[in-house]
């Protein structure tokens, strides 16, 4: 039963010696070993048990912190010393990281227990977790369906109760969308809130890490550890980190909610729409006011994102060249051959497509029409939010136009890209956003998206927590858990 508990509950249980961290860790490890979700690329049994033993010692000595001894799944995009860090790609399959990401370091310093490295779409490119070199991840609610992506392994691990929480990264929805599709809570903080150092870059100006948890309260607990300034990351912001748990209990009476009409137009599944509107009603019942708003340029988020992100990734991934680490092809006959074959054999099809789109959009003669134009539209998209937040405190809407789709149902990139319509714009603007369980449609979870102004994580977590105090969607579990 331990696996059904939230981080907050586990923390109490450890403190009260109801169970030890070793027991907890063994329990989760055995669940992982019995699971067929393919949520993990690497399970770090020995390391986990070492960490658990160390945590138990701290607990025994009375030196424990709130998260001491709590196990977690770490998205395989974060570098972890001595542990394979593949980012779901063959090209990094041989990469045993010689250093720790700042997030890894912070979680270690909080005495947490890493169960293993969670599966993900290759190099964080995908919305279904079907693009992993290590095979697709299954949705715990229906194993014929995708868990979403790119943090699909993380979401499936939490939803399947293989881990009390997991780390994720969100470049265009990669925390929120899998959280939504797997019926759990996920938060993408303001850009600059969590250090990107040691997080394998997909699109540097969009990437941001955050937790996937059962509850908003758990997300707040983990955010307290993950967030904060890092002098190794020039884009990290030197700004005090509040105690995110402090104001969770505040009333949200008077909260002004904006519903962007563009998020409720054609393409949105009616079952999802109904679920979202019911959740919004719940907020109204708690004293929030609702108004319609407009984000006129949000419709351009897809072309804008699918230029900006590929441009940045085409350059970010050049370092994966088979020279200093990672995959190198067999018997390269010359340098050219080494580059061409290592990269072609090492990268999957979707990654190659994005690299090529990016290389093209940056190339001589096309830069202005693509890259520069996209950066201007990005500005317009961000201005829309600026205007909207003059009138409302939180923007709400769906995360994804549909619930989780069947594995293998999308055969082309474009239709997959179109499903990102509600999540991309806030990455372009750098704003924080959440997905919280809001109900079900066709027996699959539906996530409600909460978008806040810059640095409003506290407010988002508070609103989410209040919603979760009134509802029990977040407490629902897939059958057999």
């Amino acid at each position: 039963m331990m696996h059904k508990l939230t981080v907050a509950e586990l923390s109490k249980g450890l403190k009260n010696k109801e169970f030890s961290s070793v027991e907890l860790t063994e329990h989760f490890l055995s669940r992982i070993n019995q699971s067929d979700l393919n949520a993990f690329i690497t399970v770090t049994d020995d390391l986990a048990l070492d960490q658990a033993r160390a945590a138990d010692e701290k607990i025994a000595n009375g030196n424990a912190g709130i998260l001491t001894g709590i196990p977690y799944a770490h998205k395989d995009i974060f570098c972890t010393t001595g542990v394979k860090t593949s980012a779901g790609s063959k090209i990094l399959d041989p990469f045993i990281s010689p250093y720790d990401a700042t997030v890894s370091h912070k979680l270690n310093s909080a005495d947490m227990v890493m169960l293993g490295k969670a599966n993900m779409d290759e190099l964080a490119m995908g919305s279904s977790n079907e693009k992993s070199y290590y095979g697709p991840v299954k949705n715990p609610w229906n194993k014929n369906k995708v868990p979403g992506g790119s943090s699909g392994g993380s979401a499936a691990a939490v939803a399947g109760r293989l881990s009390p929480f997991a780390t994720g990264t969100d470049t265009g929805g990669s925390i929120r969308q899998p959280a939504s599709l797997c019926g759990i809570t996920g938060i993408k903080p303001t850009y600059g809130r969590v250090s990107r150092y040691g997080m394998i870059a997909y699109a540097s100006s969009l990437d941001q890490a955050g937790p996937l948890t059962q509850t908003a309260e758990d997300a707040a607990l983990v955010m307290n550890v993950m967030a904060g300034f890092d002098d190794k990351d020039s884009t990290s912001v030197d700004r005090a980190v509040p105690d995110y748990t402090k104001n969770l209990g505040n009333s949200i009476e008077g909260l002004k909610i904006g519903l962007p009409k563009e998020f409720f137009s054609e393409g949105l599944d009616s079952g999802v729409a109904e679920t979202i509107m019911a959740a919004v009603k719940e907020f109204e019942a708690m004293g929030a006011s609702v108004q319609e708003i407009s984000l006129p340029n949000s419709a351009h988020a897809i072309p804008t994102y699918y230029i900006v992100a590929p441009c940045e990734c085409s350059s970010n991934l050049s370092r994966l060249d088979g020279v200093r680490y990672g995959y190198r092809c067999e018997d390269p006959k010359d340098l050219e051959d080494l580059y061409l074959r290592s990269r072609s054999e090492g990268f999957g099809a979707e990654v190659k497509r994005r690299i090529m789109i990016g290389a093209y959009a940056l190339s001589a003669g096309y830069y202005d029409a693509y890259y520069l134009k996209a950066q201007k539209v990005r500005h317009l998209i961000s201005e829309d939010f600026k205007k909207a937040f003059q009138d409302v405190d939180v923007i709400m809407g769906p995360v994804s136009p549909t619930t989780a789709f069947d594995l293998g149902s999308f055969t082309d990139s474009v239709s997959m890209y179109l499903a990102d319509i509600y999540t991309l714009s806030l990455n372009l603007a750098g704003l924080p956003g959440m997905s919280i369980p809001a109900g079900f449609s066709n027996n699959m979870p539906v996530g409600l998206q909460l978008i806040g102004n810059y640095w409003s994580e506290e407010l988002l977590l508070n609103a989410a927590h209040q919603f979760q105090a009134q509802t029990d969607w977040h407490a629902q579990m897939p059958e057999g858990v």
């Binding site: 394998i200 870059a201 540097s204 884009t235 350059s315 370092r319 060249d321 200093r324």
Partner: protein, 476 residues
Amino acid sequence: MEWETVIGLEIHSQLKTKSKIFSGASTAFGAVPNSQACAVDLGLPGVLPVLNKEAVVMAIRFGLAVGAKVNKRSIFDRKNYFYPDLPKGYQISQFELPVVGEGEIEITTEDGKAKIVGITRAHLEEDAGKSIHDLYDDYTAIDLNRAGTPLLEIVSDPDMSSAKEAVAYAKKIHALVQYIGICDGNMQEGSFRCDANVSIRKKGAEKLGTRAELKNINSFKFLEKAINLEVERQQDILEEGGSVVQETRLYDSVKNETRSMRSKEEANDYRYFPDPDLLPVEVDDELLEQIRSNLPELPTEKKQRFVSEFGLSDYDAEVLTSQKAVADYFEAMLDAGADSKLSANWVMGELSAVLNKNQTDIENCPVSAQAFAELVMRIEDDTISGKIAKDVFKAMWQGESSADEIIDSKGLKQMTDSGAIEGIIDEIIANNAPQVEQYKDGNTKLLGFFVGQVMKATQGKANPKQVNQLLNEKLS
């Protein structure tokens, strides 16, 4: 056909920071391969750059020194290309908005005239690592110690019209970067590297000709040779009715030729775009003023002061201020009490000749400025002659002791007793009757012979002025 040469230079100057431009690894030269390449320099997955303040400060120092516009906001871009010594697959550089904008510098041309050369821009970037081709037969070995060393790329306007002018400009920049303490100027170690853009056009033509970029030039001598070779090559092509291709050419100093690197250039499209890992660099007035107030006296200012304060000629002032270390040495001599003109002559003459002969520079001179000043003062007060002084200097160079001690111990003090000198002269006149006769017959050139005899007899210690005067009296 009369041709006109147009040259612009791109100079890569390694900045003398302790750590790299985007990482905390050391920049020291000559370490064990890859021992100074940290995770950031290696471009490990997930690592991020953080900008070294000192590199920015040094770039601004240069900007202020050439009267350039320092951009209050500059941007780092990525220049994308694949090469094994470029770990990330891109070089972080500045493209659209460099830290230093337009400036200028004055050079002296061959005919001694002053000429202003425009500086288009100077931007910060990271150096690449080194590819070593001769360590293995079948492999190229990569050492990334140099990767991430800060560079200031100084781009000139195409204002030079001869190889000599290009060299004069390069030397001027070379001296300046050392003056302001931003670069050690060591060309052998690659701290200061020149690329030359060379084109020719018909005399009087307005449009620039197609240019070739010459790379891999690691001395001023080679710079001159490479440019002259290239000018000849282009003239041959054009005179035979051909056309010059825009390309990069590698200078081979062993074969003294340039060869095309066109194959490498093929399909090069650098896809510059702002580096999303770095933010715009903002330089506020406070920082700018702080840098300005810490700027040392610049070569031009120093030269003017040497002329006005010490009464030196333009030429001497130019030579003495062309290197900061030389100017500092010279000024230290004056501080110790030596005469300015005599010091100038001795620094530019004997001292520079001996330094040259020993292939060393003034920083490593075994004779301190104070010691050298003492020697010059002994010439000044007629204790020794210039000729003797050269011998004393040799002894000082060998580390024997101070000028006064050497003069004393070797008894080199000049004879100024006119009675004693007269006695010697009388003896010489008596012993050289035929020469005396010839002299009196009008062969006045023989005066030198008599002077020589006197100096020989006195072991050079007689005061030459006095000897001349007495000989003139006695022989007339």
